[in-house]
Amino acid sequence: MAHTPHISRRELLRGAALVPVAGALAACATPAAPPAASSSAAPVATSAANPFGVDAKKPLEVWIFDGGFGQQYATDIHQPLFKSKYAGIEVKHNSTKEITKVLQPRFAGGNPPEVIDNSGANKMDFGALAQDGQLADLSPLLDAPSWDDPNVKVRDTIDPSVIEIGTYDGKFSVVGYVNYIYGIWYSQKVFKDNGWEIPKTWDAFLALCETIKKSGKMAPFTYAGKHPQYAYEPLLTMAAKIGGKEVLVNIDNLEDGAWKQEAVKTAAENMAEIGAKYLLQGTAGLDHVQTQTAQNKYQVAMLPCGSWLENEQKSTTPEGFDYAMFPIPDITGSDALPYTTLHTAPGEEFMVSAKSAHPQAGMEYLRAMLSKKAAGEFSKLVKTVTVVKGASEGLTISSGVTSASSAVAAAGANTVYYRAFGWYGPLNDEAKAATGELMTGGLTPDAYLERMQKKADEIKNDSSIKKYKR
């Protein structure tokens, strides 16, 4: 936090004394029209080495979300790499845990920083930013030569889902840097010691839950009850496996009756059954760290989560625990998608502000980040898989990451994702509320679908909410 610009009380008072009252009155809470852009210098010519026309003297401001991955990767890996090419550019590095609080006033004031790692619980709403034209169009980045090899385009070095998910209104504008891989996580040691097998069908899964419950050694299943998105994640992945990718596309596009599709209903019934029979006591009131710790203490066997889990738990995981994950089992025997199907989604999202002073440098910074060297060292530092293809090749990685990586390889093109909750905050919160109730028995599966459909319709009919399609 040492880099956060800081105003002392004295400076603030001095400033306040200088500001004329009328000016202060006008500039309080409502947005003010931005100051006229300072006459920009003649644009810098683009070249193969400098595809966006970066001005080698204009500074670059970077804001990093200081969360699970910290900020060291930016100062120690990405920025030195960027500086190696642009020694004359001053890189102003900043970090915060509260992106919105520090940066939202900058957007409203018309002088946003160039590069933002817009992540964490207090990130800015991408939908709102897109709606207001604040996201720089990053399509030129995709077509630019990659940092490592001038003959390969950036587009071909990254996971294609990054482009799909980073596109708002037909404009690619958000780069998810980390590949999140979802599944059901367990300890290989526990499964080996007890002779439990990875369930490939839903019946086998329920039988396993029953066995674990009867063994009295631990609870079969838990999820971060305080954050019911951990329960709707497997629910929706299951629905997609049963009914195919269209099930989630319909939900994302707010199609009529999308939540009442048969596949979603079956998935809701299955999750409700787990909720009623196999949860760790108190699950509904525990947060992600508490449930994850319970698993590390061998109090519960299985937990739905994403591939950040291992890094997050590294200080509490006992020796020999050996994290691994398996995909949601086959449900009906005639599912639309195969057993290996996975929910994967790029996360830790970076953007360049369209209205910043030097968006070209911002884009160039992202190009540096997407180099094999930057991504590989990032993976090594924070133990996770990036979206850059082959960047973690040859690195020694942990059991959980290995298991997640091979699951992705097995899934191939059978990966699914959903976007509605990122687009529509109110829908996300309603899904959390309703899924929590579904899991604790407060809502029947039918009532659950009814409620979700009602909220989706409400959003569809609200003219003030911008709609997105995929």
């Binding site: 009252v21 009155l25 947005p31 931005p34 709102a128 509320a433 409400e458």
Partner: protein
């Protein structure tokens, strides 16, 4: 003479000017701007919001979550002052007049007075975090730990949507009572002792003493307490936001108006709509203040 008065007026005005200007800039002006913002579709990041008239207010009417929040605020508005004042009056009475002779407090009353005040010293967020642990639903919870040791199913104080509201109410009462015990004690100290002694000589029992003497003479203080607690009930934001699951959950069972305003502004980036909710909450609060001062108006007792 006249000149002197003018000079004095100037002198006073020079002292008042600074606070009035500061108040105008930092309190009145943002309030007025909120009214304007309520009529725009501002999403917080653009410099030029669109004016959309009263559309946002129309939207408020159909916002089921907000109306749930309103009912919770109204529930708190009735229950929180009532419960807090009854408990605080009871304690204050014991501390000041509960002794065997009826004109002094029970044994150790000075000590209890300090203990009652403890919760008031803690910041609201600390109280909220503290009670998260108290209410924790597994064996590590302060309440559920012993229950589970006895083989009883853990209670979802915060995770059961039927119970969570009452847990929030309990914490608010726990936190408020101490202050009102002290307030009522001060009020009781202001009542001349001889009134109580005279009543006792006339054969009044404790019950009569409380309802015929103490309560009427404390009425002004109770009225103040009612308004303060009412304001607390209209707000209740910090406890709800920090302590409850999903900030107002589970399933919207504990959310309050202020939480929905915050969620719409900083969660959904609907600043215009959040401002409209703010205006509605403003009307509720002003309405409450006027109503409660009107209804509790009474003849002041002089002694």
């Amino acid at each position: 003479m006249l000149f002197n008065r003018y000079r004095r007026g100037l002198f006073i005005a020079s002292f008042l000017a600074a606070p009035v200007i500061l108040y105008a800039i930092y309190v009145i002006s943002p309030n007025i701007q909120a009214f304007y913002m309520a009529m725009t579709d501002w999403r917080g990041v653009t410099a030029t919001p669109n004016f959309i008239g009263l559309e946002n207010f129309q939207r408020v009417l159909g916002d089921s979550v907000f109306w749930k929040a309103v009912t919770h605020n109204l529930g708190l508005l009735i229950l929180l002052p009532a419960i807090t004042i009854v408990i605080a009056l009871f304690f204050a009475y014991l501390l000041n007049l509960g002794g065997s002779k009826g004109v002094s407090g029970i044994r150790g009353s000075t000590f209890y007075r300090v203990v009652f005040f403890f919760p008031q010293v803690l910041a609201v967020t600390i109280v909220a975090v503290l009670f998260q642990q108290v209410f924790r639903p597994d064996g590590s919870g302060m309440l559920n730990g012993p229950l589970m040791a006895l083989g009883i199913e853990p209670v979802g104080f915060l995770s059961n949507s039927g119970i969570a509201f009452w847990s929030v109410l309990g914490v608010l009462v726990w936190q408020a009572v101490g202050f009102y015990v002290v307030l009522f004690s001060a009020g009781l100290a202001g009542i001349p002792r001889d009134v109580f002694e005279a009543a006792q000589i006339d054969g009044a029992n404790r019950f009569t003493l409380f309802f015929r003497i103490t309560l009427p003479l404390l009425w002004d203080t109770v009225q103040v307490a009612w308004v303060y607690l009412g304001i607390l009930a209209m707000d209740a934001f910090a406890i709800v936001w920090v302590m409850t699951l999903q900030q107002g959950g589970p399933d919207w069972s504990t959310t309050v108006m202020a939480a929905e305003i915050y969620r719409n502004a900083f969660g959904y980036f609907r600043f215009g709509y959040a401002s409209a909710l703010g205006v509605v909450m403003f009307l509720f609060t002003v309405g409450f203040a006027i109503l409660s001062l009107r209804l509790s108006r009474r003849e002041r007792i002089e002694y």
